[in-house]
């Protein structure tokens, strides 16, 4: 639902992900973070252009 909302507002819904990582999966966590960071890098800056 939130992704649809983002879409309505013109924020790419790819910018939001939900991943299940258990406490024993340290490796998986690092993997998820790495791939997501890469994806965002490809997408570029937040279109709102807010200096943060």
């Amino acid at each position: 639902m939130t992704r649809e909302l983002l879409d309505l507002m013109g924020i790419d819904k790819e910018r939001l992900v939900l991943e299940w990582v258990s406490s024993a999966e340290g490796g998986r966590f690092a993997e998820v973070v790495t791939s997501f960071t890469q994806k965002i890098k490809d997408l570029g800056k937040n279109p709102l252009g807010v200096a943060a």
Binding site: M1, T2, L5, L6, I11, R15, L16, V17, L18, E19, W20, V21, S22, S23, A24, E25, G26, G27, R28, F29, A30, V32, V33, T34, F36, T37, K39, I40, K41, L43, G44, K45, N46, L48, V50, A51, A52
Partner: protein, 67 residues
């Protein structure tokens, strides 16, 4: 523009799952990008759509919800 774009990513992590996972990643000395700002929540069910919207409003480039 800077040589490479460094995004800001907010990660909402469940205390019992992903947050512990991140902890384990740290203990195991696994490398992951430094762009992530982790916010610990007691349960990923605590996260409302508004958290995500607020994050974007404050200038986040991406949001990761992890449970």
């Amino acid at each position: 523009m800077a040589a490479e774009f460094e995004p800001k990513i907010i990660a909402f992590c469940c205390n019992w799952c992903a947050y512990a996972g991140a902890d384990l990643a740290g203990v195991s000395r696994l490398q992951y990008p430094p762009n992530i700002r982790v916010i610990r929540v007691m349960c990923s069910g605590r996260i409302s759509p508004d958290f995500v919207l607020k994050a974007f409003q404050m200038g986040a480039d991406g949001v990761l919800v992890s449970g």
